[in-house]
């Protein structure tokens, strides 16, 4: 393995030298963000290679109004809110779900939507609301759980849906005027579901290389080498270097289920605003499972902290350390912006693994 890693590093360095200018590659997957830091990949990138973390963390991009709605739901008597662990510390307008739990809300951390449905079956006297967040990797799990709830007529289960779609977000980024990206490291596990062909419009319409990569250090490095190869030769096409699990067309069963349960709709992304057709709404026949309707919760507005530059971080315009709040007022203990909240958030990953990068650089 080390031999292969060494070969990849040599090739990456050589191609970056040949390109001879700053190369800006964006990953749109929080797991890539964390894996690149945790494995030390970031520390081995050539000086002129900039790996930008795009809107790849579902927690980061979940709008404040959605957190507020979740908190409203958690405040209702006899309601159990079930959620993935990362959502607990995301700040809404008035606190977080974690703080709401301290006030007495019944909040359960689950590792699967099915566990949330099981809680509903175990507690017929309570209402159980599942927070459906995540990209296409995760939304089939929510969809199947809703299908099961419908089949078994579980009356006390509902979902607050905030699922997002990756490709429309990538397109929206590319349509920004001052966006300069040389290529995309495409999310491996989203691609398991949607297939590598889903990125074809980005390669053809916008002329950006797209390489689907895995999450082991060697897999990440390999994807970056393939990206620089395309950049060096001025090419742009879709490459899949994670063929173990990713196919051109994706998981047909999962895509069918998504089409059955959800319909695409405009949705709001934190710090990015509304992106057309970038999210899922429940299809008409499943709207009985919509928590907002069931509890008549009004989704409010977003009030972003004016000093917070998370939007620019997500857009890849600045690095976290260029934000005045980073590491000062805004830390993982006292997150202001969404990028600091999740452990996958760009700012949290930077704070955890890279805060002293400058000092380290000076040392070596």
């Amino acid at each position: 393995m080390m031999h292969e890693m060494q070969k990849l590093r040599v090739e990456l360095n050589r191609r970056c030298d040949a390109i001879g200018r700053e190369i800006r590659v964006m990953e749109v997957c929080g797991t890539h963000t964390v894996a690149a830091f945790r494995s030390g990949i970031r520390s081995m990138l050539p000086d002129n290679f900039r790996l930008i973390s795009g809107p790849g963390c579902p927690v980061c991009v979940t709008a404040q109004r959605y957190i507020d709605a979740a908190i409203d739901l958690a405040s209702l008597p006899n309601v159990i809110v079930a959620t993935y662990g990362d959502m607990l510390r995301v700040p809404g307008l008035s606190g977080s779900l974690e703080k709401q739990r301290a006030k007495g809300a019944d909040l359960r951390v689950v590792t699967s939507a099915l566990r949330a449905l099981q809680i509903a079956r175990d507690h017929p006297e309570s209402e159980v609301v599942f927070l459906g967040v995540g990209f296409e990797t995760t939304s089939p799990a929510t969809a199947l759980t809703i299908l099961e709830a419908a089949r078994d007529q579980v009356p006390n289960f509902s979902v607050l849906v905030s699922h997002k779609l990756v490709v429309p977000a990538m397109v929206a980024l590319l349509e920004c005027d001052d966006m300069s990206i040389d290529g995309f490291l495409c999310p491996g596990h989203v691609s398991v579901i949607i297939g590598s062909n889903a990125y074809a419009p980005i390669a053809s319409r916008f002329g950006k290389p797209c390489v689907v990569g895995g999450f082991e250090p060697e897999q990440i490095l390999k994807a970056l080498v393939h990206l620089t190869r395309q950049i060096e030769y001025g090419e742009s096409y879709v490459e899949n270097v994670y063929p173990a699990v990713v196919t051109e067309s994706g998981n047909a069963t999962a895509m069918d289920i998504l089409r059955r349960v959800f319909v695409p709709g405009d949705t709001v992304w934190r710090a990015l605003g509304v992106i057309p057709m970038s999210g899922f709404d429940l299809a008409p026949e499943f709207q009985a499972f919509d928590a907002l309707r069931r509890f008549d919760i009004h989704v409010g507005e977003d009030f972003d902290n004016p000093s917070c530059r998370c939007g620019e971080v997500i857009l890849g315009r600045i690095e976290p350390c260029e934000c005045a709040l980073f590491g000062n007022e805004c830390t993982p203990l006292t997150p202001i912006g969404p990028c600091m909240v999740s452990s996958e958030g760009t700012c949290a990953a930077w704070f955890k693994y890279n805060r002293h990068a400058i000092a380290m650089g000076a040392r070596s």
């Binding site: 494995s39 030390g40 662990g85 951390v109 590792t111 995540g134 999740s342 452990s343 693994y353 000092a359």
Partner: protein, 354 residues
Amino acid sequence: MTTIHSLVGNDVSRPIVETGVERIVLAHGGGGELTGQLIAERIMPALANEDLATLDDSAVLPWCSDHVVFTTDSYVVTPLEFPGGDIGALAVAGTVNDLAVMGAEPVALSLGLIIEEGLPLETLDRIVASISQTAKRAGIRVVTGDTKVIERRTGEGLFVNTAGVGRLIAGCRMSMSRVTPGDQVLVSGTLGEHGLTIMSVRGGIQFDTTLRSDVTPLNGMIRRLVTSGAEIKFMRDATRGGLAGVLADVSERSGFSVEIEESALPMTIGARYAADMLGLDPLTIANEGKIVCVVANRDADAVCDMMRACAEGRHAAIIGRVVDSTPPLVELKTTAGGARIVQRPYGEELPRIC
């Protein structure tokens, strides 16, 4: 040093419907007949010794040592019993280990039980038996204690406080200020098993696992180390905050950096995979039977061998070294050939799915 907050909401509404289960009632804490009966029948038989048997307000202990080492810790864990241990074992081993890592020979423990109304008496019995067993293994006695009952909240609640006193072993002087560049950093065994085991039995997260908590008293092994003449400068048990927490303390308080090698960190496959599955960094996961040692370079191999000669330390390893570089940081050299900074975790680490 073991506080694990409940991840799941508590089901207060479910009434007790089963019969034949004897439970703690508020009157068990009333200081009357029922309290006396609880202590005499449920606690004393397991823990009996001449000091505890007097049931006086305080224990009077013979003493001959220049320094008393004194510590206290409270234990809260959900669930109370888990693979490899329970709150009782944690309470004894945790306090014993806190004394031992300071270079002390643990002498006596106090035991404070705060019991929730509704706790099944048989659960209490098992935990008291575990306290007794763990204390025997550590060679320490519970010499004074207290029991209180609080109103029902979950019906499964028990909180334990243990304080401990020990004699400082002659010549022992554990101090962060003695740490200098060139010192080696050792860990006494495999990482992450306690925290991952607890996760595996939490509602909403559960999975079947061969993992067990590593909770165990380490004073026997530590005594051998500190009386060997090896120059051990600092020791701490890597409980909450894991290895990352201890190393961050070493670096911050000594003013030097610590460099560790990912490839040297001992972990079982089961723990590695469970951490990967839950999205957790193994370095930040709690242990209850592992110490981190900073040892003078020339004695590092000998100390590692001594640890490996003990059952509790048989997977001990030299994982890194203290280096002179500023600012003081903990740096991990990754197996992939890169490097990253290790920081202490921010609080309760939650499993990630996204």
